[in-house]
């Protein structure tokens, strides 16, 4: 089912049964982490089937490792394809990051140096994923804590060229833009203006925390005021986009998540009827 230009929420296992139930909460769309559902059978997949029958669903991957020098794992691509065939997702997304090397999966979205050679590798991996799935994927900007010494371009430029090379879309995580700018000395507003507007096909919003003088993308809190402001500016400039509230740790009651989504919906509604400006 197509993902509407509305504010949905990330579906975590704590709330799976509630959204699978017949009297499930009202939400315009939901997003899952694809890897959570890579099992052979059992209650988790059965509940997912019941969710799919009631909501448009997006599949957000956290394990494909688009930035792996080793290339993509064909077995993992096959598992994802099987899941996509089952749930028919409205959108498929992954990260501008890597998590697998030398046969180990590190379960984090690890950073890449933005150079021509790395662009070649990521573009080849994105193209391979799109060929395998037979459709376009969205690539999400990660949150940065470190910067590499010999980079030759910024992240916005890297993503723009990745879009040009592969035809992929962008999943714009505005909290990640804010966190990365704070941690590595960038300008979040300038970053947002530098992205190709038409390629932005989904927006993520999440909360972060502060530790050791850094902002940490913990997904365990409400969206910050600064991130709401950047979101409102972005929507006013580019038009409405499917928007998702992510909350992965210390997951609160569903009503709290829907409240955050409602706040995003108000911003989307204020922009409703307007056309996006040309990129």
């Amino acid at each position: 089912m197509e993902i509407p230009q509305a504010a949905g929420i990330g579906l975590r296992t704590a709330h799976l049964a509630a959204f699978a139930a017949e009297d499930s909460p009202t939400a315009p769309w939901l997003e899952i982490h694809s890897e959570t559902f890579l099992c052979d059978g059992g209650p988790r997949l059965a509940m997912l089937d019941a969710v799919v029958a009631q909501y448009p669903l997006s599949c957000h991957g956290v394990g494909l490792s688009l930035g792996s020098a080793d290339g993509l794992d064909p077995a993992h691509l096959a598992r994802l394809k099987k899941l996509f065939a089952r749930v028919q997702p409205g959108l498929i997304s992954e990260h501008l990051a890597w998590s697998s090397t030398g046969g180990a999966y590190l379960n984090d979205l690890l950073p890449l140096p933005y150079t021509e050679r790395v662009l070649d590798i990521v573009a080849a991996n994105v193209a391979a994923a799109q060929d395998s799935f037979g459709r376009r994927i969205l690539v999400e900007n990660p949150s940065a804590y470190i910067a590499f010494a010999d980079e030759t371009m910024g992240e916005a430029k890297f993503l723009t060229r990745l879009v040009e090379r592969t035809g992929c879309g962008i999943l714009l995580d505005i909290n990640n833009v804010y966190v990365s700018a704070a941690n590595t000395g960038g300008d979040a507003a300038a970053y947002l203006r530098a992205l190709p507007t038409m390629a932005i096909s989904e927006i993520h919003l999440a909360g972060h925390s502060v530790a050791n003088g850094m902002l940490i993308d913990t997904h365990d809190a409400r969206v910050s005021y600064a991130v709401w402001a950047l979101y409102a500016d972005t929507i006013a400039r580019i038009g409405a986009r499917p928007t998702l509230i992510e909350w992965d740790r210390d997951v609160p009651e569903i009503s709290v998540l829907l409240g955050e989504a409602h706040a995003a919906q108000i911003i989307l509604d204020q922009r409703a009827g307007g056309r996006p400006h040309a990129a």
């Binding site: 890897e35 959570t36 890579l38 099992c39 052979d40 059978g41 059992g42 209650p43 988790r44 997949l45 059965a46 956290v62 394990g63 494909l64 490792s65 930035g67 792996s68 020098a69 080793d70 794992d73 077995a75 993992h76 598992r79 890597w98 998590s99 697998s100 090397t101 030398g102 046969g103 180990a104 999966y105 590190l106 379960n107 984090d108 690890l110 890449l112 140096p113 150079t115 050679r117 790395v118 590798i121 804590y145 470190i146 910067a147 590499f148 010494a149 010999d150 941690n183 530790a211 050791n212 003088g213 850094m214 940490i216």
Partner: protein, 259 residues
């Protein structure tokens, strides 16, 4: 210095699974805070994987306590990180790791309890299949019953131990506030089954264990019953089958004849 991606990723792996930023630091932009920056990733990798193990092994965690479990799990993560991005399948080797650890030597039943927990996790995520019921077996001509071959359901798991693992598992459930004294001298074998999306754990007698082992090894119903009677003269096939049909121990493969 040209930055080779594979080399960077291998240094990064060493940094997050090790304790310092080591060879990775040389590739990063100079900053007085590099150690703390790398530590953000080390923390995410290690903590998230320890949490995966904690979710799969709640009883083992309760037995050893949160702090010891976290240490043990972290050592396992460093020694054997996941090989695929499919975390429901991560942690199967943890029981063997426990068996060789100091805590596993001090608490000799712990590794077997962990095996039971992993079998339950596997049962939860195993493939769906219809369960064999009594009506299907009863519909066979009586002369064919002996030579029928049953198949374990994809979710069924048999775990044998020299310790009372089912009892230990039971008294360490969250709803049990005070753990009673347990006689550790009792050996238990457990059958784990899944029916109506519910995973159940049940201790079985030695005869039933021999019966299920024979079936798992491809024996006919007659051969399996013979194995059971050899171990336990009082083995009651009808009784055992009734319990297994209720639990959903066997798969009903409608495409395949039972004989």
């Amino acid at each position: 210095m040209p930055l080779e991606l594979r080399d960077m990723q291998s240094r990064f792996r060493a940094a997050v699974l090790g304790s310092g930023d080591g060879a990775l630091g040389a590739l990063l932009r100079a900053d007085e805070n590099i150690a703390a920056r790398v530590a953000v990733h080390r923390h995410t990798v290690r903590r998230s994987l320890v949490e995966v193990l904690a979710a799969a092994y709640p009883v083992s965690r309760r037995i050893v306590g949160e702090a010891i479990f976290a240490q043990l799990a972290d050592r396992f993560v460093v020694a054997a990180p996941p090989s695929v991005p499919q975390l429901s399948a991560y942690g199967g080797a943890f029981a063997a790791f426990i068996a060789h650890a100091d805590i596993g030597q001090r608490l000799p039943y712990l590794a077997d309890v962990a095996r039971l927990e992993w079998a339950r996790a596997e049962a939860y995520f195993a493939a769906d299949a219809p369960a064999l019921d009594f009506a299907r077996l009863a519909a066979l001509p009586p002369e064919d019953i002996e030579t029928t071959r049953l198949h374990l359901h994809p979710a069924s798991r048999l775990v044998a131990s020299a310790f009372p693992i089912q009892r230990i598992w039971q008294v360490n459930q969250p709803e049990v506030a005070a753990v009673p004294e347990i006689d550790l001298g009792v050996a238990e074998t457990v059958i784990i089954t899944r029916k109506d999306h519910h995973v159940a754990t049940r201790a079985i007698a030695a005869g039933d264990r021999a019966f299920l082992t024979a079936i798992a090894n491809g024996g006919t119903l007659g051969e399996a019953a013979d194995s059971a009677v050899r171990i336990d003269a009082a083995f009651d096939l009808r009784h055992a089958l009734r319990d297994h049909f209720i639990a959903g121990t066997f798969r009903d493969d409608a495409q395949q004849s039972l004989t």
